[in-house]
């Protein structure tokens, strides 16, 4: 069998070809950016990613010793605090990133999926935080779970997604929802790499040939 014949029938070769076409190494890890990427607003995406890394790291340490640990030791409480403040920072920088991307209309030029995956990340992060709040095993968890259960029950999911069931909420918080957030964020970042950072608006009085190199 010739190499071409093998390639055409191979799922592996086909997948590799599609992946490398969409994201060749120079696009996956570029060492240059368009000249217009020159504003501090552009760092809020990578700041959001960094906050997510700190959240997952501190959350993993909390998971090592189980959910009661942070109530019992100073070091446990330390990592709980790191986890809480990294979440606050995550939402802080992610929302500023969203504001920046909105005012840049960053969905232009075929980048709608970049916007969509970003918006979905934000919307999935909210129930991820909620499951964390109700897993604290303290008064805050008692109050939040007994209040928020009314919204879950009103829309018909409360029997399946029981905020008062600590075991279930802890499982969703430690595994399922972080996996969802990370998965969507990976798609979001790969789409940014594939499409590139959105070019500036053409100014209203600009000629159609501006921004095109000779």
């Amino acid at each position: 069998m010739s190499a071409t014949e093998t390639d055409e029938r191979s799922w592996t070769a086909g997948l590799r070809r599609r992946a490398v076409t969409a994201l060749p190494p120079e696009k996956l890890l570029p060492d240059q950016q368009p000249s217009y990427v020159a504003s501090w607003i552009y760092v809020f995406g990578v700041l959001s990613l960094s906050a997510l890394v700190v959240i997952i790291t501190s959350g993993s340490i909390l998971a090592l010793k189980g959910p009661a640990w942070w109530h019992l030791t100073g070091i446990g409480h330390f990592f709980n605090s790191v986890h809480l403040w990294s979440v606050e920072i995550f939402f802080f920088v992610m929302v500023i990133h969203l504001w920046g991307k909105y005012w840049m209309a960053a969905w232009r030029g075929g980048r709608a999926r970049v916007w969509i995956t970003g918006a979905v990340t934000f919307l999935v992060a909210i129930p991820c935080a909620l499951t964390g709040y109700v897993s604290q095993q303290n008064f805050d968890a008692q109050w939040i779970s007994t209040q928020a259960k009314d919204a879950m029950n009103a829309v018909g999911i409360g029997a399946f997604f029981n905020l008062l069931d600590f075991g279930q909420m802890y499982s969703w918080h430690v595994l399922l929802l972080p996996a969802a957030v990370v998965g969507i964020v990976i798609a979001h970042v790969l789409l940014v790499r594939k499409h590139g950072v959105v070019p500036p608006f053409k100014l209203p009085d600009a000629s159609p040939t501006e921004d095109v190199s000779p």
Partner: protein, 52 residues
């Protein structure tokens, strides 16, 4: 519980405006977000302009 430098375990102060009630801590966060957003847009970014 390890002692923090600033103890925030006391009832919060609230800002009231018509029917809106926000804790001072949350107001600080919101104001900080607006300041940081404005600063991010307005602050000069280091480096030369693009090569063509």
């Amino acid at each position: 519980m390890p002692a923090a430098i600033f103890n925030l375990n006391h009832p919060a102060h609230y800002v009231h405006w018509h029917f809106v009630q926000i804790s001072v801590s949350n107001v600080i966060v919101i104001v900080l977000m607006l300041i940081v957003f404005a600063a991010a847009i307005l602050a000069p970014f280091p480096g030369r302009g693009g090569s063509s």
